[in-house]
Structure formats: C-alpha cells, structure tokens
Symmetry: C2
Subunit: 378 residues, 2 copies
C-alpha cells in the first residue's frame, strides 16, 4: 500500500501500455471533484458528458463544477442522461446520444466523458469510437465492476436482442479516473457484484491475489479505502498486462471471459431481470470451474475455495431452479465467444492459471449443467 493513498488527495497512477494508444488510470478518493486530473486530457473546447439517471443526480454537478474551474472560459459542456440498466444498452440509446451530439454541434475535437457504470461506459465509448469516425474519450467508472473491468481494455458496444455486445468496437480512452469515493453511494448488491470480477482476476491470473482476497474480504466488504484501492489497482494491473499482450482479443485476452460463457447465457435466459452481470458471472465461474475439473482434472479443493470465497462475498454460486437444458445450451451457442462453430470456454487448471479451450466435450458441458439442477423437458 503506497503511503500517498492514505492522504487521499494524490491519486495512484497506473499506466496501460498500448504503444501510441497508452493511457493512465488514476485511482483515489474524491478525485472526481478535482479537475486538474482531467484537464490535460481535454484538448478541445467542447465536452459532452454521458451519464445515467441514477449517477447523474449524485455526481454530475461535482464533475461539471470541477471542469468549469480548470477549463478555459467559454468551453462548451453538455450532458446527456440515459436511463439506468442493461436493457437500455441498445442501438436506440446509442442513436439518441449521437443525435444529441449533432444537435449541440459537437465537432471532431470534442471530448466525450462517460460518468457511470459499465453500460454508460460501453455506450459512451461506442459513441466516441464512431462519432465522426472517432473522438477523444474519458472514462469515469462509478461502479466497482466498471472500475476493475470496463475501464481497461477498450471494449465498447451495445447489445442486440439476440445477444450481448454483438455490436461494438475496440476504442481506447485517453484517461480513466477511478474515484473510490463514489463507491460509498453504490448499492451494496452492485458493490458485491463487482467483487465477482475482482475475484475473477485472482482465479485466472494470480493465486497470490486470490489468497490476499480471502484474507482481505472483510476489509473489502467494509469498503475500507486502502483495501479497495489496492484491489482495484491489482485488478487493473492484471487486466492491463493481459490487454497489452492481446489488445484485440485474438488469443490470451479471452481468459478474461472466465465464467462469461455460462454467465452471459444465464443473464440472457433470465432476460437481464434476475441477475446483475457480476452475479451471473459468479455462478458462471463456479460452472466453468466444475467444467475445468471434468476437462482438465482441476482439484476439487480449488473448486471449493472459489465457491467459498464467492459465497463469503455474498454472491450466488448456483443456477436458479427451473431452467431448461436445451434452451440454455442453445443460448450459449449464440454467444459471440463461439469460434468457428465450436463453443469456447475459459478453463482453470489451478487457481491463478487459466487457458482458452475450443475443444471442450459438449457432453461435459451438459453434465455440469445437469448436475447444477437444469432439467430436460422431453
């Protein structure tokens, strides 16, 4: 833990190394209201903030005040508030933001700022990637999930009725600002859902971090600044290192999708109404770990440690009752992680070590789902 974290005024800086698209992530408490962090990353005299109806009332004013102080007088600051929720991550919402940018005459030198969770970041990022073929983009993630996940990697996009993130692009921000102060107003359930992704990083890439999480869980659940900042930093560092080696997800990067093939299908089959993304991923990770056990002989002890940590983090680890096996399998096969007709899974040999496999036996997938309580209706 760096000493400057306790001072809370000077953020930690983590550099994401992507050659000419490299950018910094600033992590600290209450940095949202300090425009000096952002000012160097706003080259033009127009700013367009995208937020949602939940985050807007809490932090929009703080951000615009901070910007008004540090930017040149006469700088144009516009805002656009989208409805809250994954069901609004659509091409229609995207189009509304584009229309608003055009109506306010934002030109190619504008800066788009995403102030919100993953949905806001994904939509605003896709807008930034495609408005006038790409404009400057800044991310201010306001959920734990977004701070450890969406803020690194450049994935942007919207959902299609047939599946998540089927439309989008890779587009890097010029900077990311992770303010741990905003987590105080985040609903408990959302915070815990973010912990699922935090735990994921330990499982796929760093067993020492996994152990640290087992030890630090109480502090994390209590949102102690130092523990939370340390967790975010370590997650972002892991993700940054993976992304730097495989920006466009041609190989290695896919390990970040651990738990997501099952998780996405679960979210979709329950119409995005029952589970938060992180909750679905928690269940998906346990399923993927069981699949690893069948496919790679991963130890039962590791399966149990993951399941226990997730449970202690207040997360679900079991599929709900009443799901249909055939429907679940069909939904999984529509996921974009399907590669040349084969379903792609991320498997974990042992905690801290993941691999991508296109050769999982479909019967093993069925066995995992059946033993998790899915039924066959025939």
């Amino acid at each position: 833990m760096p000493a400057d974290m306790r001072a809370a005024s000077k953020p930690i800086e983590l550099r994401v190394d992507l050659k000419e698209r490299s950018y910094p992530i600033y992590i600290g408490r209450d940095i949202l209201g300090d425009g000096t962090c952002l000012a160097p990353y706003i080259p033009g005299n127009q700013v367009f903030i995208v937020t949602n109806e939940t985050v807007g009332p809490l932090y929009l004013q703080t951000l615009t005040n901070a910007l008004s102080i540090v930017l040149e007088p006469g700088c144009q600051i516009d805002e656009w508030v989208i409805p809250d929720g994954e069901i609004h991550k659509t091409l229609d919402t995207y189009r509304a933001v584009i229309d608003a940018l055009i109506a306010s005459r934002h030109d190619r030198s504008t800066t788009i700022i995403a102030l919100g969770g993953g949905v806001v970041g994904d939509i605003a990022g896709f807008v930034a990637a495609t408005y006038q073929r790409g404009v400057n983009f800044i991310q201010i993630p306001t959920t734990l999930l977004a701070q450890v996940d969406s803020s690194v990697g450049g994935k942007t996009g919207v959902n299609h009725t047939q599946g998540k993130n089927l439309i989008g692009s890779f587009y890097q921000p010029s900077c990311v600002l992770a303010d741990i102060g905003v987590l105080d107003t985040l609903p408990e359930r959302e915070y815990l859902a973010g912990l699922a992704e935090v735990i994921k990083y330990g499982v796929i890439a760093d067993s020492e971090f996994f152990s640290w999480l087992e030890d630090s869980l109480a502090g994390l659940r209590a949102k102690l600044s130092e523990v939370t900042a340390e967790a975010i930093l370590r997650c972002c560092r892991i993700k940054a290192s993976v992304v730097a080696r495989d920006e466009r997800e041609t190989g290695l990067r896919a390990i970040l999708n651990f738990g997501h093939t099952f998780g996405h299908a679960l979210e979709k089959i329950t119409r995005y109404e029952t589970y938060l993304h992180g909750e679905a991923v928690a269940i998906g990770m346990v399923l993927a770990m069981q699949l690893s056990r069948l496919s790679l002989g991963t130890s039962e002890a590791d399966v149990q440690r993951l399941s226990r940590l997730l449970t202690n983090a207040g997360l679900p680890v079991k599929l709900p009752e009443g799901l249909d096996l055939a429907e679940f399998l069909n939904t999984m096969s529509l996921d974009k992680k399907v590669h040349r007709g084969c379903m792609r899974f991320v498997l974990v040999e042992r905690l801290g070590r993941a691999q991508v496999s296109d050769e999982v036996d479909p019967e093993a997938v069925e066995r995992v789902l059946l033993s998790s309580g899915l039924s066959t209706h025939d």
Copy 2:
C-alpha cells in the same frame, strides 16, 4: 505500363503500408471471377457478401462461383442486397445488415465482402468494423470512384439526416480487388463522376499526373484498359502514400478532402438527388480553387486548367441557379470538417500542391459563392 497488364490475367499489386494493418490492392481485368486472388484473405469458413440491387444481378453470381471453387467445401456463403443510392447509407440499413449476420449466425471468424460502390463499401465496412467488435473485411469496389477513393484509407460509416458520414470509424480491409472489367457496365455518368476524384489526385499531389490526365483523357473516357488501370494505380498510390503518413486524418490526410467542403454542402442542400458525389466534388473543386486564388494568390491559369479538364471530362463546374447563400453557409458549417468552430478548407497553391487551412476569411468564402451565382434572400 507493366507488360503483364496487357495479358489481363495477372493483376498489378499495390501495397498499402499501414504497419500491422497493411494490405494489398489488386488491379486488373476480370479478376473478380478468379477466386485465387481472394482465397488467402478468407481465414474462416463463413463469408457474408454485401452488395446492392444494381451490382448484385451483374456480378454476385460470378463472385460466389469463384469463391465456391477456391474455398473449402461446406464454407457458408451468405449475401445481403441493399437498395442502391446514397439515401440508403443510413443507420437503418446498417442495422438490417447486422440483423442478417446475426440471423445467419456469423461468428467472429467471418469475412465480410463489400461488392459495390462507395455506399456498399462504407456500410459493409462499418458493419465489419463493429460486428462483434470487428471482423475480417474485403473490398471489391465496382465503381471508378470507389476504386480510386473508398478502397484506400479505411473510412467507413453512414450518413445522418444532419450530415454525411457523421457516424463511422476507421477500419482497414485485409485486401482490395479493383476489377476494371466491371467498369464496362458502369453507367457513363457514374464513370465520369469517378474521373472527378481521379483529377483531384493530380490537383492536390502530383502535377505530372495532372498533365498525364490532360493528355490521356480521350483514352480514359474510352475506358481503354491500360489507361484506366494506370490511372487507378496512380490514384491509389497517391492516396496510399497520404494515408500511410496520417491514417486517422489528424493532419495531412485532410488534403484528400479538396473540393469536399463545398461539395458535401451542395449534395446535402440538393438532397442527394441532383448530383452524384463526384459531380458535386467537381463543382466544389472549382470553388475551392477560386477560394485558393483569393486566399493564396493561386494563378488564374491553374484555375482555368482545372476547370477545362473537368469540363472536357464531361463534368459540371458551376453551381446550379437559385441556391441561397445563408443556407449554403449554414450547411457547410454543420460539416464534420469544422474544426474547433472554424471551417476547414483545403487550398491549392499551385497544381500538385495542397494545404489545409483553418484560417480562411469567411468573407472570401462568401465572395466565391456570390460570384458563382448564389443569391441572398433578404
């Protein structure tokens, strides 16, 4: 002229140098029916061809036959035919193509082939750039304009009711195939509109090429294979060299927009019904040349040479009667080439030498428009 051009069987290859995004352009006669050119650029076992209702009936069968011969048996080849015309270059058409891809279950390893003019290329390219965050893309431009313009540079996108190309991204194809044989079925008017862009390259970057065009115009208008192939090669080479130095249009690349600030406004104000893009650019180039004379003291002789070459190429060089000055100026100011509130123009000091200027005197713009016959209604 390389000897192998006359044989017509072996295409010329021009390499566009964009580091890891480099790709070849093949130029030759009747190469569309020879799948061996394309096969190395189709890594997966799914192909999705986007074409339009005009080009489809002429060349789709030839292309699919060629693909069926060289691709592995069982390879999935789907087609999507969009309506012809710039008014269909919309987010709605884009969405329909995306829906079709999803309905046919194309995954991330699919290859999208654009078979058509600029509109097909721009939409299909934007689809390729954003479907599942980017899939493999091949361009087969079937108009002269697309062969010399859209096939190099990676610009993709759709129009918005408020302006052209306001939505899109930069996305490079893995290869481009310019078949000069298809120009035989291109309507004369469209072929001539393509010549406007050919002439543009001489004006902005190569006075020797401009002179060659003056000398070779008869051969070009007669579509002599050797002359046409040579013109396409030289245009692509100029554009490739400009794009290689400025892929994302932060500076130099903007010179390719010579004539386009005026041209886009003219297209829009006449609702894309009166002029083909190249025709509007022809008129726009003459206006931009007159603006260069007022702003940089470009010689009247150069203005006349450009005007004469365009006229001899059967292209319009004068604005139509009855346009309103205020409306024209307002339309220009909405163009995405507006930079930090200033209209951006490409000016030509002398034939072969262009520069970008954000500091054109608005009065000079008005004078050029007024002397071209625009009226003030007040």
